[in-house]
Symmetry: D2
Subunit: 311 residues, 4 copies
Amino acid sequence: MSATRYTYLGPEGTFTEAALRTLPEAATRELVPMVSVPAALDAVRNGEAAAALVPIENSVEGGVTATLDELATGEPLMIYREVLLPIAFALLVRPGTKLSEVKTVTGHPVAQPQVRNWMSAHLPHALWESAASNADGARLVQEGRYDAAFAGEFAAVTYGLEPLVTEIHDAENAETRFVLVGRPARPAAPTGADKTSVVIWLDDDHPGALLEFLQEFSVRGVNLMLIQSRPTGAGIGNYCFCVDAEGHISERRVGEALMGLKRIAPKVRFLGSYPRAGVTPDEVRALRSGTTDAEFVSAADWLTRVQDGRG
Amino acid sequence: MSATRYTYLGPEGTFTEAALRTLPEAATRELVPMVSVPAALDAVRNGEAAAALVPIENSVEGGVTATLDELATGEPLMIYREVLLPIAFALLVRPGTKLSEVKTVTGHPVAQPQVRNWMSAHLPHALWESAASNADGARLVQEGRYDAAFAGEFAAVTYGLEPLVTEIHDAENAETRFVLVGRPARPAAPTGADKTSVVIWLDDDHPGALLEFLQEFSVRGVNLMLIQSRPTGAGIGNYCFCVDAEGHISERRVGEALMGLKRIAPKVRFLGSYPRAGVTPDEVRALRSGTTDAEFVSAADWLTRVQDGRG
Amino acid sequence: MSATRYTYLGPEGTFTEAALRTLPEAATRELVPMVSVPAALDAVRNGEAAAALVPIENSVEGGVTATLDELATGEPLMIYREVLLPIAFALLVRPGTKLSEVKTVTGHPVAQPQVRNWMSAHLPHALWESAASNADGARLVQEGRYDAAFAGEFAAVTYGLEPLVTEIHDAENAETRFVLVGRPARPAAPTGADKTSVVIWLDDDHPGALLEFLQEFSVRGVNLMLIQSRPTGAGIGNYCFCVDAEGHISERRVGEALMGLKRIAPKVRFLGSYPRAGVTPDEVRALRSGTTDAEFVSAADWLTRVQDGRG
Amino acid sequence: MSATRYTYLGPEGTFTEAALRTLPEAATRELVPMVSVPAALDAVRNGEAAAALVPIENSVEGGVTATLDELATGEPLMIYREVLLPIAFALLVRPGTKLSEVKTVTGHPVAQPQVRNWMSAHLPHALWESAASNADGARLVQEGRYDAAFAGEFAAVTYGLEPLVTEIHDAENAETRFVLVGRPARPAAPTGADKTSVVIWLDDDHPGALLEFLQEFSVRGVNLMLIQSRPTGAGIGNYCFCVDAEGHISERRVGEALMGLKRIAPKVRFLGSYPRAGVTPDEVRALRSGTTDAEFVSAADWLTRVQDGRG
């Protein structure tokens, strides 16, 4: 049964649910909202769910630390898919409420910086209080605790509200990246537009360690798309790094870079190789000369020949 | 009047207030709690306060994004001091409450991951709900909304509560770093154990840009203590980096590295050079050969001589 | 008197004399051939000559080690000019000699590899013996000791010979680079197409020293045109490096790179900044973004401003 | 028959012969002096000899360019052994000649800079003329053409001369490195103290190419012992590099670095992996952490596991 169950960061009506529903397979799965990222992921670890969809990065707020920390520690998990969702808020109110009547507003703390400018302009005197989630904020409006909530427009139906204003977002191009996480297995085959995620712990007493780890990628022509430091919990100044690199673990340059990291870092955790959302293979940046699989194979053949005296 | 007023992330009774009170000058300042980091810093920008104390990094949760983003954008500010505070929570209850009677608990969302293990062991069935701050949680206990709150032990007196358990912290060495922020001015003189903070924007189309910016530091023997990526708000994949480097801007190796960054990065913002908390000059890592001020001066003298034909 | 005397690697009739005569000022100087590179340079050191023209690099044979070693050690000297001369040999014979009569051939040892293929094709049975110089070879032909000599065509007149074959050179584009060397003085002003020569000693026990010295150049966008290792005389495995870099010592990126070298290398010797032969300013490779003098000045201004609290 | 014949740079009585005789196997080989390095090596290429011993590097004069250029071009050859020979000259005279009677001196041009100071002190008025080899100089003294020759003391017997002065060498630690060269075959097994020689051509239009090729070695912890630029013959500014690296091609870090070079360089020629002369395995510098064969194997195992979903 668990093979058909997907958990997600709930409650119902959040952007995470909307992101999950963009996956074709979601139509044939049982979708179960969970109260937190750890809860959604623990269900996968426990075998109660086949996969979990959780937010990992937001173009306004940055990395979702709960997700990064859960993936970096505990029982290993792997990312199989990513989803990019443009983020625009609607101001949800009980039917009939006018903008001039909105005195109190709620929403998830992450939403606040994304609508701050809009509020200054349109609701300068309204009071903001945080809710546990955007959807929870909608529920509190339904219950009459607040006059309005910022949430996805899709949440209006669930809570019997109406979207008074839509498409609210201070930043252009605001979007959130979600990942579909499962138990470790063989990664899907490369598509030509892939991404590889790892967590790297550095030797803290070694000042050049960060530079050295970047060189393991750069010397093999592997571009990095994200590098996010996270505290290890061992005190200020102790970090691990969550890294997204272009390419798939089955490609030679990526595999060799990962082996290089494995040799120099106290600890490396592979988080998966998976297709990049919103990028087709012909949109991928051309590989640097000398770093294609064909060139790796050709160099390995040469090495064998010279080792055999046939150079 | 503003010259004697310091704001801080309130309300009263938070760890931020406790950190602020460790500064000798706090005794002679008017200390004003503010509802948010932006509010505390805007008071400085507006001239209503001389400085603000805000959290910037937590050994469990990582960088405090609200503070990093505020320092990186808007009207420039500068860091003049840092304070390190060990973080241990007390479980505050109304006098007479027993542990077995605690069914609902509150606290700041940041506190939760720091006490999660303790709660699993000692309050496995209690319900957690987040409060706007640890101190606010204490107030809600005082008002009877919750049975207990995680907060600093020092908050008990303010809210008429008693610390039922103290020294609660899941992670060893949990601590938070706070910074005292003011309007830009000449940095204090170097002490021999200093730190320099900058924000660096990279050219997004240039895959090696991150490596190049690290090399501006490494080639001059400047060690980095923190590197934290933050989204610029221009969409997923667009980052700036908050960096703490060892040394003071008035030291040659640091100044030359900063000029190098300024030349290659689209934008650099200097956030200050200030004494390192908890480190004395003789505990500072020895400089790499060739990077002391004396060696910089000697090399500059040599250059002048050979340019004059006296090499 | 010495101010009007230029020495050169003799004897008369060599390529060095031909190179010297390409300099306009040569017309008004007393040109004195010397028996060796050290002799030509010692005359400059002793004040007997204002300058000396000596070969430093050959496109077939590589660096002229006698010149490199003389410049690297002993009383300091400086390069003020370079001359590039295409190298093509003539086969000089006594008037009337036919090719079929040539049984013995002479020339400078450096000439041999440059005419080897031609000899295999046209004089397969002739015997080669080395002479002290190409011109000396011509003299020996004049004296009847050999049937033919490889030398510059211009040497025919001096020794009463005739050029039986001209334009002999196995390699396309064969050329020799000569330098005009004087006592240290202020380098000439930059022309926009300049070159800077230095000798760098490395710390032998430090495996990464070579990489570090290259990074002092690369991090400031200074391209290298020549890197030639020379033994220091302290035993196998002990080297110094003769380096030609693009740019002039008075340009900021070059000056800062040289100071960086001075700080990390046990010893650096500046050999001069001088115009590149055969290259005009608009043929020079564009500077990397962030490395122009204007960008250095702008970054220094910025540093001053932030140090003064006006950032 | 050729399997038992070794050629060497002759004539008899040179240091090369002395070096060759230090090899145990020399006792059972036919040792054939040749007139030049190309002649000695061509005999190997033609199958007339099994191997050739030629000088490759001198602690005073640097790389032996004839040898480097022969190994870099033409039909491929491989180095199987190296020999280090301390270089000290004897002044050889016809029996009975006194030092005060020596007016003319000869020797190989390479010998001259190694005895220049001694001559200034002891034979200030003697005239130097170069001979084709040190042994040839001895022969010319035997024939009465010169009064004395600088050569190895061992040459005295061959030419009926007597060593008037011995142990002449301006530089302390003067030594020459010789290599035993054969046709390409499988390199000998690693001994724990090995060296790998390659020639690398760089892409001339790419200013950072030299730095990139050094990083292929440095990122895998492979130290370089020699880097010697040689002109490619395509004109001033076109070089290839002869490189000696610590380690054996069968060691993972070396093999991976060579494959990296092969991928980025237009051309790489493997010249052999062979035991280092004068160094035992326990005198070899410790490998950098993360670069041992065991660590490479362990990292490859890890890669396989995570690719299989067993990470």
